[in-house]
Amino acid sequence: MITVKHKTKEAIVGYVFSLPIIITVIVFTIYPIIAAFYYSVTDYQPLEARKFTYTFNPYESLEFNTGILREEAKDYPLDQMIQSFDPVTFVEIDVGVNLSDEDKESIRKNFDSLNLLSDYRDGKLPTEIKISDFLMKYMKSDGERFAKYRPKFVGLENFKQMFKDMYFYTSLSNAFLYSIVVVPIQTLLAIILAVAANSKIRGKNFFKSIFFLPAVTSSAALSMIFWLIYSKPGILNQVLMSLFGRFGFQPIDYLNEPGIALFAIMLMNIWSTAGYFMITFLAGLQDIPSSIYEAAMIDGATGWQTFWKITMPLLRPQIVFVSIMGTIGCMQVFDQIYFLIKNLRNITISFYIYKNAFEYGKMGYASALAVVLFAIILALSLIQRKVVKEEY
């Protein structure tokens, strides 16, 4: 047996243990990040990327194109068939792929019609073949251009386009608005709840459990529940009507009113996360030694003074954490928007990215938007960290 030095052994085991995670992170996170930056300077279109990957039956396409049935083909003279055969028309119409001008040019120049038609006559064609494989086979050269999709390089065109895109501004400013409203309110509310729960009360754990409930519920289910509550004949309007109806309150269609819909979702978001973040603050509060409060009391500090002069500064690490996590979450808010927002004036940037990539088929542009979102989130986190450090 070979004796391996302990250090080497440890290094080997270390890699064996961490390799699965290293590999998955490289494949599913690091490569996609690089790819996203690459996509962002191209016109990546998923439909274009897939168009050569479909399969087709060459016999059927040739029958359509030539008007000669496959059984009769061998009786036709080859040169006669070739004369009336146009490979570009064949690929574009009978095989059914859209071709760029360069593709057409290349097919016109390099397509081996003779080879294809004689295989047709001899019945040597497959009955099912991928378009890219087919073109590879019957192009004398340059067939590789169809094997792998290369999106067109457009430089900074996608980023320039954003400046002219009204929905980019709308969705980005909505995400900012969302964060600016939600983060401070949810943080403050969480602190208030934590301070309340940290006083000498009974049933602390009972309240903690209840406040945590929305955090374990999917945003999909919460969206549905709030859809019901916010609907025009729904309970929110009913309650408000019975309270303020006599002052002329009219039911509001919260989610269809462009000026209100986003705020309705913000309220739902605050409701669903404040209790969760309260746990964080409660943990922070419990770490503050009670001797500090006792000292403050001896010095004659009021409850209000104690809160602002002692509690808040000592909660700073938690405030940083909650506001950074909250901002990152809010800037990326997606599920609730997907479920509840019905007009484009109220969408946020992550939803607009989704729409571009998976509904409009503009993945290059969507990636450029995602890169911008990334830059913004990075900048916000750095600023938040810096601001807090300086104030310390």
């Binding site: 996609p32 309340a196 409930l213 999917s218 999909a220 409701w271 964080t280 599920d335 992550s350 990636s367």
Partner: protein, 298 residues
């Protein structure tokens, strides 16, 4: 420090008011959804006359006696059965969700814990570089990686497959950090004792470390399962065939196809929430402790 003055009690009273008010605010939407989910869409009275039920009736007319009723109709669990009938795929979606959340939990449990141990305890070349790199990728929003991940899976024909759904989520950097943090606080003496007894690193890990790491491992398992169960964006993208939907994406289907059947939609929403509430209530301590540990790290 207890003073017996009545002034001293004010903070406690205010605290109670705040907590009770917010508890009501938190519970109310769930209670309302539950009530609607228990209301039948139509019902037949004792005389055999059919009645429609309007869940927007006001006041809701909730009665517990002689039998529980609301909106003038007796409450029933039938909607929870009916969602499986009106949408025959609902059972399949439930299965898909269990598979997705289950596979993810197993994967993360094994691999994040292994990696976490390596990064906490073992010395290997480039460890710090990998760690910094992982840390950096945490800042990247999912919107950036989503599109290339999707394209990659399309190219390998993995869209609308379980493999495609769980493969990119098999490990989680957040889980790695959680486990690393856990093992850093893990008493070294146990491992050292095992090593003196001549046990190798591998054996030490599986026989000594892992069995004693249950608090950390179970917290990771709970968080992973919960996250996967409630995940919406990734299944929405990767599962375009109805057979591959998860419950969250299925809810979206309810919304677009049964949008006037509030009772079904609420039953579906409550139905998928109940397992999470059960898990949460059974493992409260881990949930709240992990929330705390994560916060301290930040």
């Amino acid at each position: 420090m207890e003073k017996k003055s009545s002034k001293k009690n004010w903070p406690v009273i205010i605290s109670y008011i705040i907590l009770i008010a917010y508890a009501i605010a938190t519970l109310f939407p769930f209670t309302w959804a539950l009530l609607v989910s228990l209301t039948p869409i139509t019902y037949t009275d004792e005389n055999g006359n059919p009645h429609g039920v309007n869940i927007f009736d006001w006041p809701p007319n909730v009665k517990l006696f002689p039998r529980p009723s609301a909106f003038g109709a007796p409450l029933t669990f039938q909607n929870y059965k009916l969602i499986f009938e009106v949408v025959p795929l609902y059972g399949r979606w439930l299965l898909n969700t269990v598979i997705y959340a289950g596979l993810l939990t197993i994967g993360n449990l094994l691999l994040d814990a292994l990696g976490g141990y390596a990064f906490a305890r073992l010395k290997f070349p480039l460890k710090d570089m990998w760690f910094t790199l992982f840390l950096a990728t945490m800042m990247v929003p999912s919107q950036v990686t989503l599109i290339p991940q999707y394209n990659m899976l399309v190219n390998y024909g993995l869209v609308n497959t379980y493999t495609g759904m769980f493969l990119p989520k098999l490990t989680n950097i957040f889980g790695l950090f959680l486990m690393r943090q856990f093992f850093l606080n893990f008493p070294k003496e146990l491992e050292e004792a095992a090593r003196i007894d001549g046990s190798g690193i591998l054996r030490t890990y599986f026989t000594i470390v892992l069995p004693n790491a249950m608090p950390g491992v179970s917290a990771l398992a709970i968080y992973t399962f919960l996250g996967a169960w409630n995940d919406f964006q990734w299944p929405l993208i990767i599962a375009s065939r109805k057979e591959m939907y998860t419950l969250t994406v299925g809810l979206n289907f309810f919304k677009s196809s049964y949008y006037t059947y509030w009772q079904y939609m609420m039953a579906a929403s409550i139905f998928m929430t109940i397992p999470m509430i059960i898990i949460f209530l059974s493992f409260q301590k881990q949930f709240i402790e992990t929330g705390r540990a994560v916060a301290v790290k930040g």
